[in-house]
């Protein structure tokens, strides 16, 4: 039975193996500028990664040619991409806008987007979490959080 994907090169393991080979080869270049003893372990690991990834790629392609379908990485890619983007956006917002504003927006936004739709529950949860963080970390432990680059501090 043929593989159901359009191209057998788009199988997740094959793509991962190709990615590792490219990245490891890229990292291998700077090792030529190092002393031999300093480069020994990193070069060995990078070459190891390349060789092992070739094995992984071949094994996966063999499975593809045998008609074995690769399991999908996720059943709901939109939710996964959305979750990643929200986490990255939250980190960027903390960096540029400031921690408290970003957190107060992120908690209800993430929970609402991913299925929790009780406005009262969201409000209570946000107040409790932000308040507890302020009381424990800011007030109790004098922890400084990002104030936001946009405010010039």
């Amino acid at each position: 039975m043929p593989e159901s994907r359009n191209s057998c090169l788009t199988r997740p393991e094959t793509l991962t193996a190709i990615g590792i080979i490219v990245v490891a080869a890229g990292f291998l270049v700077p090792t030529f500028d190092l002393r031999a003893i300093s480069a020994l372990l990193p070069a060995a690991m990078l070459i190891g990664l390349i060789v092992l990834s070739v094995f992984l790629l071949l094994a996966d392609q063999r499975k593809a040619s045998a008609g074995e379908d690769a399991a999908p990485m996720t059943t709901s890619p939109k939710r996964v991409i959305g979750a990643f983007l929200m986490i990255v956006s939250y980190a960027l917002a903390c960096d540029f806008v400031g921690f408290y504003i970003s957190t107060a927006v992120t908690i209800p936004l993430v929970a609402w987007t991913f299925g929790y739709r009780s406005p009262v529950g969201l409000l209570i949860a946000t107040v409790i979490v932000v308040g507890t963080i302020w009381a424990i970390f800011d007030f109790g432990m004098s922890q400084d959080f990002p104030t936001g680059r946009l405010w010039g501090r």
Partner: protein, 498 residues
Amino acid sequence: MYSDLLHALPDVFAWTNFVAVVIGVIAGIVVGAMPGLSATMAISVLVPFTFGLEPLVALGLMAGIYNGAMYGGAIPAVLLRIPGTPAAVATTFDGYPMAQKGEGGFALQVAVVSSSIGGIASAFALMLLAPPLSKVTLLFGPSEVFWVAVFGLASIIFLLGGNPIKGLISACFGVFVSVIGSDPIYGNDRFTFGQLEMLDGINIVILLVGLYALPPVIDLLETPLKTGGVNSSKLGTEPIWKALPRMKYWKTWLRGSFLGIWIGILPGAGGSMAAFMSYNEARRTSKNPEKWGEGEPEGVAAAEVANNADTASALIPALTLGIPGTAVAAVMLGGLLVHGLQPGPMLFRDNPDIVFGFMWQFLFGAILLVLLGGSLATNSFARLLNLPRPLLGSVIIVLMLIGVYSIHGRMFDVYLMLGFGAIGWVMDRLKFPLPPVVLGLILGGFAEENLRLALRIGRGDPMVLFQNVTSLILVALTVAVVVGPTLKKRFIDSRKKA
């Protein structure tokens, strides 16, 4: 040898240290009861918050969480047939049928008592076995230490099961991450790309949080679990002292404890394997095996005693040799490193109060399980299953950011953690094992330093690595670990054919 153990006892009773264990056990039960969250993730998220704490307070929290989570996993396993942790899968076999028959409360009491017994046995094993082993390892020189690191990596890669190529890729990645930063001997920058933040190398906590905490959060948001809610008032829980006389499982507890301890010591094996083996053994020796799977309380006892018996014992190779037996032990090694405690031979000599205090905390954590996870608390913990997953996910995201940011007070670490998180998610989905990455990071620098030291002693001659009996034994053990599983598989295949 054991006088240090007694000497450390008073420190454990300092109120801060004791409260830390109590909080840890409660937090552990909560985390374990939440399907999708694990002890590994909880400790990963916790570690950065413990920077400013005294080592025993931090370690007490970790010991408590580890113990609590192993029992907490039984709550959804019994009530919803959803194991809260992977180690609680075997608990569902008889726990859920008991809950369907209206014996959910008793099933949870069997689980908590069995978990406590397993934890106590495991803590005693740690106390008795780790000190003498540490004395032996004090005799190791650079070449032996190098081989110990190689053996540790090999055992995690090849005994973890699954695909050895993926295990090796994980380990190579971990070791590669360990070389980022300044060269420890010549001071050359390696792969820092001009970033000052990377000169000191990659902090293990950043890697731990990225690899272990971010993928479960994505899981929580990807498929919000419909638990259906648990009416804890209908658990039918009676006070634990009334339920205790009905629990006559001494043989099962004893057998499960031994199995759990043994599997905990073996690098690469874990609580799931311990629980399954204990369950199978108990069923095999039962007088009425036909009842198993239909709500036999002894099945719950067998699984729960074993998955708690592997907790402290997994730290025996971790504390003495720096080789963790399980993923949680690998994360705990990271926690020790954060507090300046280098696992390995010197740990017992340089920090006896802390390391032995940690062992006592494991014991108290296991005893506290019965008190904190008893009838009243179990009802409360069962209600936690009704918490909305998306809300939980968003709170964990915030905690991850705070924890990583607070290490050095810079956003660079947060971005780095997100990068490791993305890698961790891909690895998780493609079934690349994560413990070799952590171990690679821990042992990579250790192995490189000792290899270079040994080569210096031997004036560049690599034969210095094979010049004494201990090194040769460690090489033989490494070879055995590498080829053993293949030989075993061939032997089984040939017997099947015959």
